[in-house]
């Protein structure tokens, strides 16, 4: 069985995104489980800076050699930053999904989303239920 890294200090969605909050600013990416499932990432379709996203709705697309996967916003708010590095180096998502492979930053403007997100233990359970 494969090994999946699930940092304790992050929050998660059932669609395999993670969120790291710093005040109102939430860095968002996909989890280690997700990047392993996808394989070699070749393209990330990012939203425009300034656009609005809604929790649970698609904000972008991530593509691997074989697969196309929607990206779901873990929190609602405004996209204030996108990871421009991913244009030239989409493989950062495979190499460092919780660090340099972050995808966007969302400003939640004061809303606290943590009640509607999974903690690490709950996400681990969710992954176990789905993996072989």
């Amino acid at each position: 069985m494969a090994n999946f890294e699930i940092p304790d200090d992050l929050l998660y969605t059932p669609e395999d995104e993670w969120a790291r909050g710093d005040g109102d600013r939430f860095h968002v990416g996909i989890t280690d489980y997700a990047q392993q499932q996808l394989g070699d990432i070749v393209f990330v379709d990012l939203p425009e800076v300034g656009s609005e996203v809604t929790q649970g709705q698609v904000f972008g697309v991530i593509e691997s050699v074989k697969a196309v996967s929607d990206l779901y916003a873990p929190v609602s708010g405004q996209v204030v930053e996108v990871n421009e590095e991913l244009a030239d180096r989409p493989e950062l998502v495979n190499e460092d999904c919780y660090g340099d492979g972050w995808i966007i930053v969302i400003d939640t403007r004061g809303e606290d989303p943590s009640d509607s997100l999974l903690d690490a233990a709950a996400y681990l359970k969710h992954v176990d239920e789905r993996s072989e």
Binding site: G39, D40, V42, F43, D45, V61, E63, V65, K66, V68, A87, E132
Partner: protein
């Protein structure tokens, strides 16, 4: 859990951590480590593929060569023993039943290697058109097939198979022992690279697989899965049945003119000639995206906002670092330099037609058309 058919190497794939997917009814690895890693291994060193899902159909007997001549788009009578030829099985409407490689294994016998998805269909088709005096045998279940592909292939195989390897020319084959097991070894492949395909008795496959991996390891050979097989063949612009070829498509539309000899009688020849005389409405072209993104099968192709065709295969090319693909276009547009748009998720991605193959110079200089 998948419940498809298994090749003799199923356990080996599990042990290697292969990610199994269902393909043509078989459980096979799409990758072991990474599609890009495995692809690069083949381009730079070597990769080993289990392609035992493919089918083998043997025609033998006094009428076998005649039957093959009738069924295939190229002559078979002049195919010498020990040589291989790529050809099409066509239907009466001039469409493609399958694309196959034909091995002259004896004066009165031809072994066809066919696509896994078409084994039953091809077998029934051949039986239907084979006269008495041509025995048709489906040997798929008893035959395993490995493909060792990449520039290091001869160096890896030679210690295991002996002197016969070095002199084996492209599109030739020989019966050689590999790791002590009897094999039919051909200098062929589906990657655009130098390499070999090894036909084995199913029971011998695991031992030969292990022997090749062990021999290849110090030279950087990796086990490679279906994902890399597809990106490699796409870089070489080789057609895949069900994508570039199907039973309504003339081989000439797919650019396979070299493999269709219309100056002879075979099933489909008249229709292919008629359709050519009438003018084809589409031609297969290779394209590259000019901006970031990935074109894939079924994406529409447009020129100036007007839909003109459809992508049949598309993927990011690990060698080129760009997205490439094949598409059917109106013949007038199928010329290198034509600017296109590929419609991906509602956006028009800029592209242009390019010469194929996309990646050149990967086959040995002695390669002739097989």
């Amino acid at each position: 859990m998948s419940a498809g058919k298994r090749t003799p190497l199923y356990e080996a794939h599990r042990r290697l951590g292969g990610r199994l997917v269902e393909f043509a009814g078989f459980d096979l690895p799409v990758q072991y480590t990474s599609i890009v890693e495995e692809h690069r291994a083949v381009r730079e060193r070597a990769g080993l593929f289990d392609v035992s899902h493919m089918g083998q159909i043997r025609l033998s007997g006094p009428a076998a060569i005649g039957a093959a001549e009738r069924l295939l788009s190229r002559p078979m009578a002049d195919l010498r023993c020990g040589r291989v030829r790529y050809a099409l099985l066509c239907n009466e409407a001039g469409g493609v039943v399958d694309d196959v490689t034909a091995y002259r294994v004896a004066e009165d016998a031809i072994l066809l290697c066919v696509n896994a998805s078409n084994i039953e269909k091809d077998y029934r088709w051949i039986v239907r058109h084979a006269p008495a005096g041509a025995e048709v045998r489906n040997e798929s279940d008893e035959t395993a097939l490995l493909a060792l592909q990449g520039p290091a292939s001869p160096e890896i195989l030679a210690p295991l198979a002996g002197e016969g390897v070095a002199g084996l020319r492209r599109y030739a084959f020989a019966r050689l022992p590999v790791g002590g097991r009897p094999a039919l070894v051909s200098r062929t492949g589906y990657t655009g690279a130098d390499g070999f395909e090894l036909y084995l008795a199913a029971g011998d496959a695991p031992a030969v697989w292990e022997a090749l991996l062990e021999a290849g390891r110090p030279l950087g050979c990796l086990p490679a899965g279906l994902g890399a097989r597809d990106t490699l063949r796409l870089e070489a612009a080789l057609p895949l049945y069900g994508h570039e070829l199907d039973d309504t498509t003339s081989p000439l539309e797919a650019g396979l003119d070299r493999f269709v000899a219309l100056d002879r009688d075979f099933i489909g020849a008249a229709a292919i000639a008629r359709r050519r005389a009438a003018g084809h409405e589409r031609a297969l072209a290779g394209f590259e995206l000019l901006e970031r993104g990935v074109a894939r099968a079924e994406h529409l192709v447009a020129v100036g906002g007007r839909t003109v065709g459809r992508v049949t295969s598309g993927a990011p090319s690990p060698t080129l670092g760009r997205s490439i693909g094949l598409a059917y276009l109106p013949p007038a547009l199928a010329t290198p330099g034509t600017r296109l748009e590929v419609l991906v998720r509602g956006r028009a991605l800029a592209a242009h037609v390019v010469e194929t193959p996309f990646v050149r110079g990967v086959a040995p200089k002695s390669a002739r058309t097989g």
